[in-house]
């Protein structure tokens, strides 16, 4: 190592040099007064600068920092949205009511005069009296809904349609 390479001496002084590099430099020192002189200078400067010792910041600093940041929000809990029980009960009651109504109608259907001839039809034979009444109710319900659909549509969109 050429003795004028002060950068290498710095690396050595601050222990940033690799072990083989350090070994080589130490061998060089033994014979180089200039390098030893510069290392003495670094050592002396080191101890002089160390006279300015570390100080502690005010203990309340962290509280001040925390006061300046927004409060931690609680983590959002991923849950099902609240469901109102009312429509569920309404639908359940409606279904029970319809089933009971179908049952009542099918128990009385033999009283109708057309039933004697209709009951021989293969569709009714397949569906049974309960199935037939259920299908009849479904058809009636569909008919009523479709009939009322335009009225409901116009009623609900009255404002948008400027009627």
């Amino acid at each position: 190592m050429p003795h004028e390479n002060k950068d290498e001496l710095l690396r050595l002084f601050y222990r940033e040099a690799a072990p083989p590099e350090e070994q080589k430099a130490r061998q060089h020192f033994a014979a180089c007064e200039d390098c030893r002189e510069y290392m003495r200078f670094l050592t002396q400067m080191n101890s002089t600068l160390n006279r300015w010792q570390d100080e502690k910041p005010l203990p309340e600093t962290f509280d001040r920092i925390l006061a300046g940041i927004p409060p931690e929000r609680p983590q959002a809990i991923h849950a099902w949205p609240a469901v109102s029980a009312r429509p569920i009960f309404t639908i359940a009651f409606a279904l029970v009511f319809i089933v009971l109504l179908i049952y009542f109608v099918q128990s009385r259907i033999s009283m109708f005069p057309f039933w004697t001839s209709w009951s021989q039809h293969w569709i009714i034979q397949t569906l049974g009296s309960f199935g037939f009444v259920a299908v009849a109710f479904l058809a009636l319900g569909t008919f009523i809904t479709l009939s009322l659909a335009p009225i409901l549509y116009f009623e609900l969109n009255k404002r948008a349609l400027r009627i």
């Binding site: 670094l42 600068l49 006279r51 300015w52 570390d54 100080e55 502690k56 931690e72």
Partner: protein, 188 residues
């Protein structure tokens, strides 16, 4: 949590964990505070800038590169940028420090300084070093503080300041030479 690495703590800070944030603060408050005190020459300003540095850590946690895991370098870069811009803002940068701003601390951190005479002598020496450091240009002062007091490697400082290592070493030699001249009256 105290045993977690800086990168792990930063990951928690990113999820707004204030306990992890406090651990990080406790780990680095002294280093950052003393870096800023020596750089700006003012304890009051250092107190404010320390606060600003850690506030920025909280708000800019997303910009920390988890892959590199070099929290120390990232933190020093923030502190250095804040200190530099503060000095530039106050137009201190080209006038150098007002050395009178660094009076000797009332409570020196040196536990050996128990006897009044020794304490006084220590305060004087500290004041002299502070004044000499304050008379260096900001760039020279910066390298002395980062290298000598903060014990950072030249490669780390080069990464932080985006300056070639050779330039930093040249500045360091120049700074030491100037300090030697400034400290000569005290029989350096």
């Amino acid at each position: 949590m105290e045993k977690s690495t800086d990168a792990e703590l930063m990951d928690m800070v990113l999820r707004k964990n204030t306990r992890a944030y406090k651990v990080l603060y406790a780990r680095y408050e002294m280093r950052i505070y003393n870096f800023i005190v020596r750089y700006t020459g003012s304890r009051d300003l250092a107190q404010d800038l320390l606060q600003e540095t850690f506030t920025r850590v909280w708000f800019a946690a997303h910009s920390f590169n988890q892959a590199s895991g070099n929290f120390k370098g990232w933190l020093y870069t923030i502190a250095l940028n804040i200190a530099r811009s503060e000095l530039a803002k106050k137009r201190y940068a080209y006038h150098y420090l007002e050395v009178s701003e660094i009076p000797a601390s009332d409570e020196p951190a040196n536990p050996r300084a128990e006897e009044p005479d020794t304490e006084l002598e220590h305060a004087d020496l500290q004041d002299t070093v502070a004044k000499a450091l304050g008379q260096l240009s900001p760039l020279l002062r910066e390298i002395v503080i980062l290298k000598h007091y903060q014990q950072l490697k030249f490669s780390e400082i080069a990464e932080m300041t985006q300056t070639p290592e050779g330039t930093l070493k040249a500045r360091f030699h120049r700074a030491l030479a100037q300090l030697k001249e400034l400290l000569e009256p005290m029989e350096f």
